[in-house]
């Protein structure tokens, strides 16, 4: 019996060692890969493929599939398998599968909602970040860890029919006139929306909202029923919000074909889903005039590598590719649509797309700061949840 137990112990130790060894080697490989050229990575990646690996990557965006196809065309000996997962289920699935040893679990994930990525994957050691040395000069530091492959923005957009006008100050959205005319996906169902609202409570945006308040009402905001100015804004905003649409595409198409004067705060890129005949009904507030407060928000898609991947170099090469002009602005990929922005400053939006480059948006949009959100999630979520239900 004793013998058996000790044998078991040894086995368990050996097992845990191999596991930790492989974990270390993934991290080491990623560190090494960061310094390599694409040609070197390709060689390493080919070796991984030769050893029987394939890169399973999970993503919530269908453009990733296009990018993967382009990638495989550029590196014909590498095999990528794309699995689309529902945004809502992303982290439930990833935390359960990564490291569990199940077949075809993710090697890499392209996901939104940074705070959860940090809590569920990075802090738990289920996934690692990677960023190539070669791009450190052209990508801002805050966009490097975890690596952001694209930014996506949600903008205030309205139906301009019947001489309707947009807005100049976000506080207007809290006023009676806009009751039920502001369309926004339910923040308790849509993580990027709740993150945006939480970001409003950050000192920076709270101050901007206070300034906008001053400008709209001619007096300084004062603490009353609400602890901060941002909370008062959120309260007023949510009172006016209409949750008719459960998806951004429907919201885009619905507002375009719906009643004039309706305002939506939704994903800009979804304008491509709006039928051309209706598209002229929509005006992007920011393109019309600057809005006091904000004119929307920006959220990133992060790339992370699973701790138990068997092809870290392929992952690294693919991330390099996504960050490069070739990958981001390739045929039918992100750059060809409105509303996607590479953090790589050398990549510009194509001419004639009625869009602006990444830098244009940095001041007028609320950006996701995952540390801030993680620290304040609970209090603001509960404030919001009791106002939504």
């Amino acid at each position: 019996m004793k013998r058996f137990l000790s044998l078991l112990l040894v086995l368990a130790m050996a097992l845990s060692m191999t596991v930790s060894a492989s974990a270390d080697s993934v991290q080491d490989a990623l560190a090494a890969a960061a310094a390599m050229t694409n040609e070197e990575l390709y060689e390493k990646a080919k070796a991984e493929m030769a050893a029987g690996a394939q890169l399973n990557f999970y993503s919530t965006t269908s453009f990733a599939e296009k990018a993967a196809n382009n990638f495989m065309a550029a590196y014909p000996e590498l095999k990528l398998v794309y699995a689309e997962i529902d945004d809502v289920e992303t982290y439930t699935i990833l935390t359960n599968t990564i490291g569990s040893g199940v077949k075809d679990s993710a090697d890499m994930a392209l996901t939104q909602n940074g705070p959860d990525l940090k809590t569920y994957l990075l802090d738990e050691g289920l996934a690692y970040t990677y960023f190539p040395e070669s791009l450190k000069d052209v990508v801002e530091e805050k966009n490097q860890d975890p690596a952001i492959v694209t930014y996506i923005n949600s903008l205030l957009i309205y139906h301009n029919g019947n001489g309707s006008v947009g807005l100049t100050n976000v506080w207007q959205l809290t006023e009676e006139e806009w009751k039920d005319k502001v369309f926004f996906k339910n923040p308790t169902n849509e993580t990027v929306n709740i993150n945006f609202l939480i970001m409003l409570t950050s000192p920076e945006w709270n101050a901007k909202l206070e300034a906008a308040y001053q400008s709209r009402y001619g007096k300084a905001w004062e603490k009353g029923e609400f602890e901060t100015c941002a909370l008062e804004f959120i309260d007023g905003f949510l009172k006016n919000v209409n949750y008719t649409y459960t998806s951004a595409s429907k919201m885009a198409a619905g507002i375009a074909s719906g009643a004039p004067g309706n305002m939506g705060l939704f994903v800009f890129s979804k304008l491509r889903k709006v039928d051309e005949a209706d598209r002229s009904n929509l005006t992007i507030v920011q393109f019309e005039n600057a809005v006091e407060g904000f004119s929307g928000f920006m959220y990133p898609i992060y790339a992370t590598v699973a701790k138990d991947t068997d092809c870290p170099y392929t992952c690294a090469l693919f991330i390099n590719y996504l960050l490069s002009e070739e990958g981001f602005a390739g045929e039918k990929s992100w750059n060809s649509s409105q509303g996607y922005y590479s953090p790589n400053k050398t990549i510009q939006k194509p001419e004639g797309l009625d869009d602006q480059p990444y830098e244009y948006w940095t001041d007028c949009l609320v950006f996701e700061d995952l540390t801030y959100i993680n620290d304040h999630f609970v209090e603001v979520y509960e404030f919001i949840a009791t106002r939504v239900g």
């Binding site: 529902d86 199940v102 569920y120 169902n189 998806s247 595409s249 074909s257 719906g258 979804k270 039928d275």
Partner: protein, 608 residues
């Protein structure tokens, strides 16, 4: 009386009783299913219970500042302590769930029951049409009916101000309560399950001895009195159990409240559960799931208490009851026309609407110039604009998903139908024993568990060390669906076996007919149509299930329905409509194929 030797009395009778026990196939079946179900049906429950008392990674860990996995009661405190949080996340949604479930139960029975009465008990015209078309809404995923409802009734006065069919044709604007919120939820869920009530109640009415009604006629009771005092009490057990089934389905319905409730901030327990779990309040989410299960158990208890008190009224004894039809006289044609119009609206109109929605380029514009087939047969280039690779009929991903869904439906039907029949047989033969009651409840238990909670728990199981080979496999979906859809099949098994007098089998036992031959040559042929419907039901359930699969599929487009749900969520409305139509057509095809080949069909009666 002489006392037996303690030695022999203690040991031998036990041994003998054991032997007597195992020689009966019904006992062996019960023990087998007890073991299987204890693992597959109770285990998720245990997992869920522990989840209610532990701290999870993420929000909970941050909020309560306790290490992950530690035991706690805070979830209960938070959810039930009198505060806004408690009201918004528990009490209000509970109230809504209750109203929806109750209303849907009543509506489903009122519609299904009265159509059942007209079809089985009166000389109504066009019965064949009515009975075969009326079951369509049950074959459609419930949320597609919800979509249909908004497509129909949305108008410039409510929601986003988009114009629906009714407004564009008749210029009528329905008020907001009619378009969104509790009322349409009740209507949609009620309509969706009314065919179910129709089949169950119709089955009883069809077998009911007409003399029961005739004898009342002789006593000069009016027709209405007869229905009220004779017919309804006789079908009462069926009505009640149908009501309870619809009630619990309505209570745990997720997709319908999502599409009809969120627009007007109307939440039910199931939508709240999802939101809470998603926001990282898993503990509270599971408590809500548990409350639904508890409620379901109470309902089950009420059901058993009722059926225990009343005898089953409809046992086929071999004597044929003669049915005399109530003459509707002058009211016949008006009633027929009203029913046909109603049925066309709820059963055929959605199909037309989905067909239309799948070919129009721009929503709301039904002119011919706005129509295109490219969502069906478009090639890569033309489909690019909408983000899909190609029209659904040219898309290999789509066809693979179709194949998987159909295969899953068939495999699950085979397992579930057979198990249901065997459980029915075993439970009926050993009726009254504790073991039989226990197995019957266990088999019904998964029904009470919200599909989403079921999926979440099975995800955790399938990714655990011992079962990781299961994850992402087709087998996992088979197991999970088999467990989830066993309840109806075992119900239908019990019902059909209850209708066979035990002597029918005993007569064969006397001749030494072995058990498997008794099943295959006597019991199965006698209840062929009812048992086959036990096979057909899981096919339909699998064909339209979503919530159960979302977490367990390796990727969203793995199954046809998860693909459809993501289309609907992401706004590929035309693809969504096309796939919906395809699903309904596949179900109908399977149904009519079964009908052609075996004579049994879905509408020929669950337990009927």
């Amino acid at each position: 009386m002489r006392k037996p030797q303690p030695n022999s009395s203690m040991r031998e009778p036990l041994l003998y009783r054991l032997r007597a026990f195992v020689t009966k196939p019904a006992n062996l079946l019960l023990v087998f299913f007890l073991c299987v179900l204890a693992v597959l049906s109770l285990m998720p429950m245990v997992t869920m219970l522990t989840n209610m008392f532990t701290i999870h990674l993420g929000t909970e860990k941050r909020l309560y500042r306790m290490p992950t996995g530690s035991w706690t009661l805070v979830h209960f405190q938070k959810l039930f302590e009198g505060s806004d949080w408690s009201r918004v996340n528990f009490w209000e949604p509970l109230k809504h769930s209750f109203i929806v479930a109750f209303g849907a139960g009543i509506l489903g029975i009122a519609i299904g029951g009265s159509i059942a009465w007209f079809v089985t008990r009166s000389d109504l015209k066009c019965k064949k049409f009515i009975s075969s078309v009326f079951v369509f809404p049950y074959m459609m995923p419930a949320w597609t009916l919800a979509l249909f409802w908004t497509n129909m009734f949305q108008n410039s006065q409510v929601g986003g101000g988009n114009i629906g069919m009714i407004e564009s044709i008749f210029g009528v604007c329905m008020p907001e309560w009619f378009v969104y919120g509790l009322f349409p939820m009740i209507v949609v869920i009620g309509l969706h399950y009314s065919p179910f009530a129709y089949l169950l109640i119709g089955g009883i009415l069809k077998n009911m001895d007409a003399t029961l009604e005739e004898s009342a006629t002789i006593l000069k009771a009016s027709r209405w009195t007869i229905i009220r005092r004779v017919t309804i009490p006789i079908v009462m057990p069926a009505i009640l159990s149908t009501f309870l089934l619809i009630f619990s389905s309505g209570f745990s319905s997720y997709t319908v409240p999502v599409f009809l409730g969120s627009a007007v901030k109307c939440y039910t327990l199931s939508t709240k559960m999802r939101a809470l779990i998603q926001a990282g309040y898993q503990g509270q989410g599971y408590i809500i799931a548990f409350v639904s299960i508890l409620l379901g158990c109470i309902i089950l208890g009420i059901n058993q208490w009722f059926t225990g008190k009343r005898k089953s009224f409809t046992t086929v004894t071999g004597k044929s009851g003669q049915v005399s039809l109530v003459k509707l006289r002058k009211a016949n044609w008006p009633i027929t026309i009203v029913l046909i119009v109603f049925i066309c609206f709820v059963a055929i109109m959605p199909l037309i609407s989905f067909a239309l929605e799948s070919v129009i380029r721009q929503p709301g514009n039904y002119s011919l110039s706005n129509m295109t087939l490219h969502f069906w047969i478009g090639t890569e280039d033309s489909a690019y604009e909408t983000g899909m690779i190609a029209g659904i009929l040219l898309n290999t991903t789509m066809w693979k998903a179709v194949g998987r869904q159909v295969l899953l439906a068939l495999v699950v039907a085979l397992i579930v139908g057979t198990s249901g029949m065997l459980i029915g047989y075993a439970c009926v033969r050993r009726r009254g024993t504790r073991l039989s009651r226990f197995v019957e409840s266990l088999a019904f238990f998964p029904y009470l568990m919200p599909a989403m909670a079921f999926g979440t728990i099975y995800l955790a199981v399938a990714t655990s060390e011992n079962f990781k080979w299961l994850y992402g496999t087709f087998a996992l979906l088979v197991i999970v669906s088999a467990v989830k859809f066993l309840p109806f099949a075992s119900r239908s098994g019990v019902n059909s076996m209850l209708q066979i007098a035990p002597e029918i089998e005993e007569a064969a036992i006397i001749f030494g007919v072995p058990w498997h031959k008794r099943m295959l040559r006597i019991l199965f042929p006698i209840q062929k149509s009812s048992i086959l419907s036990g096979y057909l039901l899981p096919v339909i359930s699998v064909m339209r299930e979503v919530a159960l699969f979302t977490l367990l599929v390796p990727y969203a487009r793995y199954m046809l329905t998860t693909m459809l749900f993501s289309f609907n969520e992401t706004g590929y409305a035309q693809y969504g409509s096309a796939v919906t139509l395809l699903i309904i057509l596949i179900i109908m095809l399977i149904n009519s194929l079964t009908n052609k080949l075996t004579g049994a069909s879905f509408d020929k009666g669950i337990g009927g």
